[in-house]
C-alpha cells in the first residue's frame, strides 16, 4: 500500500496538477504536497499525489558512498 514510484513530471497545468507517465499510461496527479516541483523534476507518486521531490544530489551521494565501500575492500569497481 505504501508503494510509491519515482516519476518524471511531463507538464504542469493549473491547480497544482501535473501529467506523468505511469506504467505507459498518462495520468494526471496532484502536486499540492510538492509546490516547488517543476517540469522535468522527479517525484515519488503515491495514490495520485506527489509526496516528495527526489534529490539528485542525495542519490549521487549514496552511490558515491557505495563505490567507496567497494574501493576500500580493495576491489576494482571497473565492472560497474
Amino acid at each position: 500500500m505504501c508503494l510509491a514510484i519515482p516519476t518524471q513530471i511531463k507538464s504542469i497545468s493549473k491547480n497544482h496538477n501535473a501529467v506523468v507517465e505511469l506504467g505507459g499510461v498518462q495520468r494526471e496527479i496532484s502536486l499540492i504536497m510538492t509546490p516547488e516541483a517543476k517540469v522535468g523534476d522527479y517525484v515519488l507518486i503515491h495514490t495520485g499525489y506527489a509526496i516528495n521531490l527526489m534529490s539528485d544530489e542525495e542519490a549521487q551521494a549514496s552511490l558515491d558512498a557505495f563505490a567507496e565501500i567497494a574501493l576500500i575492500q580493495g576491489e576494482s569497481i571497473a565492472a560497474f
Partner: protein
C-alpha cells in the same frame, strides 16, 4: 528507471553483503517494519545472502493486515446501506471480516468500486450527486495526507455526498507497542521508507533515545536495504544507537511539511484498534469536527460488535514479530493467496503472502 536501476547494481550489492558479513561479529536481529521491505528482501534474496549473520523478522507495516476485523465489518456493513457507493483501494477487496469480504458484498449486490486515488472517488461523487459516495480510508502516514487533501477539496467544493471512513493509522506508536510488550528481542529496526517521506527520519529518534535501539530508514532497492542493514549492524556491534537515513534521495530529516500540515488540519490523533495488538493509544486518525460532514463514521452510525479473528489464524502474532508465517498451522495448507484465511495472506504486503510467494516454509508443509 532513474533512481531505481542504479540502486540494484549487483557488484556493489556483493561488496555491501561482504562488509555486513565481516562486521556482524555476532548474529544481529533486525525487524523490517514495512511489509514492502519484507517483499523486497525476499525478492532480492537478501535473507539467504545474510544467513547466519543477520536475522530479519517482519513487522506490522501492512495497513490492510492491521485493520481490525470489526472495522472491516463496519466497511462491509456501510457498503450495504441503501444509496451508498463504496470506493476503496484494490487491496481491501478480499480481506476477510467476520462475515465475508467486500468482494462478497459486491457479489450480493453492493456497489463497491476500486479506485487508484481518493481523487477518483471524488470524481465519482461529482458524477453521482444522488448517491452517497464513501471512501474507505486505509493506510499509514504515506497515504493519509492524500486523503486529507481530498477532504479539503471536497469541503471547498461543498461535495456533501462524499465521506471517508477513516481507519488510518500512525506507525511510531505500533513500534513502541512492540518494544513495550517485550515479546521480541531486537538489535535494530529498518524504518519504513515511504512513511518517513512524510514524517521525516526524525520521527524515529525515540528508538535510540527511549529504547537504545538503532533505526535506519531504508528504500526498497537492494542497495538501499543493504546500506540500512550495514548501518544497523555497525550501530549494534559498537553499541551506538542512532537514527540513520539510508534513503536520502527520498527522505528529508523533517519530512514533508505540507503533508504534515494537511494531516494536522484534517485529522485528530485518537486511540485505534490494531489487529493483533488491541487498542494502541494515539495511533489512529479521526476526522476533525470541522470535517464532521464528511465523516462516514458519523454520517452512517452502525452498531458494531466486537468480532473474533478467523479461527487458527496467527496473523496477530506475525504482525507483532513474535512468530514467522510458517509457524502457522494453516500456512500453505488451508491458507493460500487463492484461498486466504487471514489478511496477512491477502495483502501484497502481508508477511504470509511474501513467504508463500517466495516458497519459504511451503515445502515444510507438503
Amino acid at each position: 528507471m532513474k533512481y531505481i536501476d542504479e540502486f540494484r547494481n549487483p557488484q556493489l550489492a556483493t561488496r555491501l553483503v561482504a562488509q555486513i558479513r565481516r562486521e556482524a561479529t555476532r548474529p544481529v536481529r533486525l525487524m523490517e517494519f514495512c511489509g514492502g521491505h519484507t517483499h523486497a528482501i525476499f525478492r532480492f534474496g537478501l535473507r539467504q545472502l545474510l544467513a547466519g549473520k543477520v536475522v530479519l523478522s517482519s513487522g506490522p507495516g501492512c495497513p490492510v493486515c492491521v485493520t481490525a476485523a470489526a472495522d472491516l465489518d463496519h466497511a462491509i456493513a456501510l457498503a450495504g446501506v441503501p444509496g451508498v457507493l463504496l470506493t476503496t483501494f484494490g487491496d481491501m477487496l478480499r480481506v476477510p471480516g467476520s462475515r465475508g469480504t467486500l468482494q462478497d458484498a459486491r457479489a450480493q449486490g453492493a456497489d463497491v468500486r476500486l479506485v487508484y486515488s481518493p481523487l477518483d472517488a471524488l470524481k465519482i461523487a461529482r458524477q453521482h450527486p444522488q448517491r452517497e459516495v464513501v471512501f474507505l480510508g486505509v493506510g499509514f502516514e504515506t497515504t493519509a495526507p492524500g486523503i486529507a487533501a481530498t477532504l479539503v477539496q471536497a469541503q471547498q467544493e461543498s461535495l456533501t455526498n462524499f465521506s471517508v471512513l477513516s481507519l488510518h493509522k500512525l506507525t511510531p506508536p505500533a513500534m513502541r507497542a512492540i518494544l513495550d510488550a517485550g515479546e521480541v528481542a531486537l538489535d535494530g529496526i529498518i524504518g519504513p521508507g515511504h512513511v518517513s517521506v512524510i514524517t521525516g527520519s526524525q520521527a524515529w529518534q525515540f528508538l535510540p533515545r527511549d529504547y537504545a535501539i538503532p533505526c535506519a530508514v531504508a528504500g526498497f532497492e537492494p542497495l538501499d536495504l543493504l546500506s540500512a542493514i550495514s548501518a544497523l549492524v555497525q550501530a549494534s556491534v559498537t553499541q551506538t544507537p542512532t537514527v540513520t537515513n539510508s534513503y536520502g534521495r527520498s527522505v528529508r530529516p523533517a519530512g514533508n511539511l505540507v503533508a504534515q500540515q494537511l494531516l494536522e488540519r484534517v485529522f485528530d490523533v485518537v486511540p485505534a484498534t490494531w489487529r493483533g495488538f488491541g487498542e494502541i493509544p494515539a495511533s489512529g486518525l479521526q476526522l476533525r469536527a470541522a470535517f464532521a460532514a464528511h465523516d462516514a463514521a458519523l454520517r452512517f452510525p452502525l452498531a458494531l460488535t466486537p468480532v473474533a479473528e478467523p479461527p487458527g489464524c496467527r496473523c496477530g502474532e506475525i504482525l507483532r514479530g513474535v512468530i514467522q508465517p510458517p509457524a502457522c498451522g494453516l500456512f500453505g495448507r488451508g491458507c493460500t493467496p487463492r484461498h486466504p484465511i487471514g489478511p496477512c495472506m491477502v495483502s501484497a504486503e502481508g508477511a504470509c503472502a511474501a513467504y508463500f510467494k517466495y516458497g519459504i516454509g511451503v515445502e515444510l508443509k507438503t
